[in-house]
Amino acid sequence: MKMRGARILLESLRCEGVKHVFGYPGGAVLHIYDELVKHAEELGITHYLVRHEQASLFGAAGYAQATGKTGVALVTSGPGGTNAVTGIANAFMDSLPLVVFTGQVPTHLIGNDAFQEADLTGITRSCTKHNYLVKHVEELAPTIKEAFHVASTGRPGPVLVDLPKDMTAQEIEFSYPETIEIRSYKPQIFGEPKAVRKAVKAMIQAERPVLYIGGGAHAAGAYEEVRQLAEKLNLPTTCTLMGLGAFPASHPLSLGMLGMHGGYWTNMAVNNCDLLISIGARFDDRVTGKISEFARGAKFIHVDIDASCIGKNVRCDYPVVGDAKTVAQQMLKELEEQLGGGARIAAKDAWHEQIAAWKKQHPFWWKEEGDVIKPQYVIHELHRITKGQAVVSADVGQHQMWTAQLYGFDAPKNWLNSGGLGAMGYGFPAAVGAAVARPDDLCVAVVGDGGFQMVLNELATVKQYNIPVKILLINNGFLGMVRQWQEQFYEHRYSHSNIEVQPDFVKLADSYGVTAFRATKMNEVTHTLEKGLNTPGPVLIEMKVAREENVFPIVPAGAALKDMILQ
């Protein structure tokens, strides 16, 4: 059947199993929006109208983080696309599978500085895994097939498809390719057997090993394999900010998060280990601190599907290129073989005792101060009330770190945040995406007053579609993390970090028709949280917290992990 390009796009989405799209219309995508409303029912695609294009990307990213499926965003040309760039860069840094459709001026106007024209493939070249400009309508369906394939395989990432308006208007016979073959793109899934053998030998012999799990474990769904490896080899296991939840926080072998705001015991364990086994992590500077001091006495095993990640930041003794789940399976099999061949796993009792002693010495802590609400306590209570089972989406800043430290994620895909790019404004719209994807789960957006004010217009979105996101606003009237750095590293000079001039958030939510609650004293926290979390539909819960609370431990930028400031 002949269809116009706009319909072909939507039929292609249906073929890809897309159920939800986050978007914002405009001139260049009007044909698409027209087909969307005409065929809404038969397509089975629900479109969520956000209030700023950035939120469509964050929504799609939250959707991807909460499900592992590819998120889809649709925005118009020019400003629609440029507004989406931060969201694309975020997905690129956090390796989230997204396909982003942008409108473009008609092909005959490209390059003419036409109204709402921007070179979107040019602008997004360095922050997409790949991008396409469709110049012939025959290429449309194959391009979409390729875009979904590239976005979701290998190391996932955002793929942008730029659609000139005439491409969505022209008619052609529709057929969706069943398979796709890209000869220049073949992600390596299986680890090289020799490399796996050597790595496992080192794992068996290590006396002070640490298993270090990153976001790649989520991308590959390597949960069961990683847990088995940790248990069989008795490995203390830490997760990066992006890896949290890939290994259960309540597991006896769990060390929690490492890095700049990692636990004292975690960072000391990494600092003193003799073998660091990295699966799907990239040795980010927020993890390593001063690179020359990072785990100096250790050998490194690095499993990553992206070969360019291995050896990028740290030396690597045992590189294994491959998919985290597949390589972990290979490792388990290899482990059986080596143990069958008489190998004996090194004893680690002293190592575990040492780590337990470090934990006892300096656990996470906070000081109660009368009536003033301590933000850490709020997160602690959130965990207790939700039994650690909620989907929690954090924004960027102090509250993000407290949540990472204290929420204790036991299940995978329940933790969303902007780890690599650190894009303020992520938390709330990402929670919207998660709530759309997982309507049966409680979705909480933990946000600060800074980041929330970048995206609070999305209150209209949650109201319009009655999306039951619970917004937990940790309000200290400061750009808290900036203020903390100014306090600790700039002699208390609070340069432009005070944002105490702000709306009455309860009234604001009310004006959008969103139910809101506020707590101002410690003894109101539990009750207010319970009330807010139990109220159906979207809810805002504001916690007026201590204004100058700090996140501890903190590894100062450029310092070695062991040189944490503890209080």
Partner: protein, 182 residues
């Protein structure tokens, strides 16, 4: 150290900017760059020279390979190879002695005179970068009015390709024997 890197790419819209953009975004330097079609339609060969320590070069190879439409990345420097670049120069050739001197250099360097006028020659010469540099240095005192250089293109030596094939066929074939064979 200077490296010559060869990329086989799908000749698609924006391919050059993808490669060039990768280099600028990650702070690598492109010293010379050459792009031309291959025998296979739709596939182009990019030959570029860059410099950096082993770590940087390793990253350049890996990051380039990661680009979706890059088919193959080879560090030519790592194996025996032949490199050539072409230079064209407009040089002073006013008087008899000057003309004779230029012509003798042309002969020594196996260059060619491709255009003649009353007061200047256009010369063409191919060779590796060293030879091209030497030619230029010798012509400088005579007076170079204009110059264009292509930057190197490179090709792996046939003997090495054969040895590599043996290595691929036999997993245990060691680096040492490979080097001996070459």
């Amino acid at each position: 150290m200077r490296h010559t890197i060869s990329l086989l790419v799908e000749n698609e819209y924006g391919m050059l900017t993808r490669v060039a953009g990768l280099f600028s975004a990650r702070g690598y330097q492109i010293d010379t760059l050459n792009v031309a079609p291959t025998l296979e339609e739709g596939v182009s060969r990019m030959t570029l020279t860059t410099h950096g320590n082993d770590h940087v070069i390793q990253q350049i190879l890996q990051q380039s390979h990661k680009l979706i439409k890059v088919l193959e990345v080879t560090d030519m420097t790592a194996a025996p190879h032949v490199e050539r670049e072409m230079v064209m120069l407009t040089v002073n050739a006013h008087v008899g002695e000057q003309r004779r001197e230029v012509l003798s250099l042309v002969e020594i360097f196996r260059a060619k005179v491709v255009d003649v006028s009353n007061d200047a020659f256009i010369l063409e010469m191919t060779g590796n970068a060293e030879k091209v540099n030497a030619f230029i240095e010798l012509l400088k005192p005579i007076g170079i009015l204009d110059i264009v250089r292509t930057g190197p293109v490179a090709m792996t030596r046939v003997a090495h390709i054969k040895a590599q094939k043996v290595k691929d066929d036999d997993e245990e074939f060691s680096e040492l024997t490979l080097n001996e064979k070459v």
